[in-house]
Amino acid sequence: MSRTWLKWMPAVAVPAVIVAGVLAVPLQAGAAVDLPDKTPQEVLELAAGSTVDTLSGTLEQTSELGLPEIPSTGDAATAEFADALDLLTGSHTVRVYQNGPDQSRVQVQDTMSERNLIRNGSDLWLYDSADNTAAHTTLPADTADQAAPGYTPSELAETFLAEVTPSTDVTLGENTQVAGRAAYELVLTPNTDDTLVGSVSIAVDSETGLPLRVQVEARDAAEPAVSVAFTSLSLDAPPADLFAFTPPAGATVTEETLPTKDHAGHPEGEPSGVTVLGTGWDAVVVMPAGADAAALAELTASPLYSQLTDAVDGGRALSTTLMSVLITDDGRIFAGSVPVERLQDAAAQE
């Protein structure tokens, strides 16, 4: 009898060892990281002084904004709308390469396709393998310094660090480890109750000051609403031929004149007439009626529009865990990291 029992031992031991291994790995990653003590101000300066401009790495980007899953099929307008929202839902693996200020490549990996944004000097290529299209833009000479790929934690971190005003408490969290590198964790907490943002954590590389991870937590939410983090990172210069792009044979190539840097579909620069009410975390952006009437009409005609928004007093509102948008019946748009009620108040006062 005891021999039979012995024979079944491996069948019990192997899963046990695997479970133990799976549990041990995150524990090890979360083990205390020993770094010289710094004040929050010193870490802010470390991040501001970061001079990293060559890197290759893989980013994991997740968004849990409480938006419904967007169907990717449908008519062209729906598909385009869904494409724009795509980066706001679910998770994405993105590879980024950067060499100096004017060479960069961003690859958004989808299951069976890939979107590439390649910058080489003044050439900007956008290639989408799903429909085999390439778009080329020649950048004006004065954009030479804006090379940072729009997806990296650095860019997101800069946005938040620019917000560090008296309305924000800056503290240091536990030291952490991101992509195998020891990092300080800056925690920015808005000290107003009017915003949906609970806190923003930025992991700052202890050696170079490069932001390695940015997590935005919504108020009263356990999981980060938005997270962008390196899963692997090397600071060596990537091979030069990565940035030399020629569209493949058979691809549909279009030449674009407007710099459409942001692939998500938002044109660069704000339309005229946009005003900002308030400052800091609870600021509300107001777009007057008629500023972009054609785009708005197209948007409201989409079947997804009624699916995503709820009817509220005075218009329709899109509310996510981190952000609210109110489109009033007279065509004005209010947006901000605030509850819908605050947008309604702003709309009533305008």
Binding site: P10, I18, E114
Partner: protein, 297 residues
């Protein structure tokens, strides 16, 4: 596995056997050779491989004969690329085969391993050979794994040949938009074949375990195939996303990472680790079952 365990399992199989009996290397290798010979002499094996090879050929013929150009975004991925580069026939063939045809054939072969011998009444003759139960289990698994490789290569080879026959073949456009030379394309095709073979190893281990549970081979085959379908259904339910990285079918279609530039081995590694885990767990279960089992047929 030490000699001691092997001899123990042998003495468990036939208590009358001499205790000094251990697996002679020559006899053990002979068992492996005979297993592979029997496997690839079976008409059923060749029928399965031919059915798999027919998938990319059918795709190529259909696209060739159709008057309408495939549009991007419709049909299986890469179908629109097929007319521009015949090598994509192999990739499309794999994508079409992975959800059902490959698990089906692997389920048939892996489910048959032990149960087939038991059903035919030949299992006790195999165990009468001095190699032992553990080695027999290993040999049966190696046979199933070799079939996984043969099945994948059947699809890839037929796809490449059909592509060469029906379409122009030239430098290959990768997902990243970069173009690689023909020789590098063949290397990537082999890498993809390796990826898909590794993907099927976990399912083979599950089939081997099911096969030790029964003397009815059809039952083990059906259970293996059903499980592969269930795993894929679970993988498509967003409510179960915590479970997804644990499903053996989770990385099956991620071989597209090998078509990126620079080549991305992350999913290859994650897949290999996952399949290795399934192999260990179900290998241990199959061991526990097989060495404690009373062999009556």
């Amino acid at each position: 596995m030490s000699d001691r365990t092997v001899s123990e399992s042998v003495s468990a199989a036939s208590p009358a056997a001499a205790p000094a009996e251990t697996a002679p290397p020559g006899g053990a290798w002979a068992l492996l050779v005979s297993e592979l010979t029997v496997l690839f002499r079976r008409r059923r094996t060749w029928a399965l491989l031919l059915a798999l090879a027919a998938v990319p050929v059918l795709i190529a013929v259909a696209v060739r004969l159709s008057s309408q150009e495939p549009t991007p975004g419709r049909g299986p991925p890469f179908l629109d690329q097929v007319t521009q580069n015949g090598l994509f026939v192999a990739v499309t063939g794999l994508i079409v085969s992975i959800p059902l045809f490959l698990p089906l054939t692997v389920g048939v072969v892996a489910g048959d391993t032990i149960a087939g011998e038991a059903g035919l009444g030949t299992l006790r003759y195999l165990l009468a050979a001095p190699a032992g139960r553990v080695w027999l289990l290993v040999v049966k698994y190696i046979g199933a794994a070799v079939f996984c490789l043969a099945a994948t290569l059947a699809v890839v080879t037929a796809g490449v040949l059909a592509g060469l026959a029906f379409f122009p073949v030239g430098p290959l456009t990768l997902l990243s938009g970069d173009t690689i030379s023909l020789s590098e394309s063949f290397l990537r095709a082999l890498l993809i074949a390796g990826y898909v073979t590794v993907s099927l190893l976990g399912l083979s281990a599950i089939g081997l375990f099911f096969s030790t549970l029964t003397v009815v081979p059809v039952g083990a085959m059906a259970a293996t195939i059903v499980l592969s379908v269930v795993a894929q259904v679970l993988d498509s339910l967003p409510q179960l996303d915590w479970l997804h990285p644990w499903l053996f079918s989770h990385y099956w279609l991620d071989f597209a990472d090998l078509l990126r530039q620079p080549i991305d081995f992350t999913s290859f590694g994650a897949n290999a680790l996952l399949q290795g885990g399934y192999l260990l767990v179900f290998g241990a279960l199959a061991y526990g079952r097989f060495v404690t089992k009373d062999i009556l047929s």
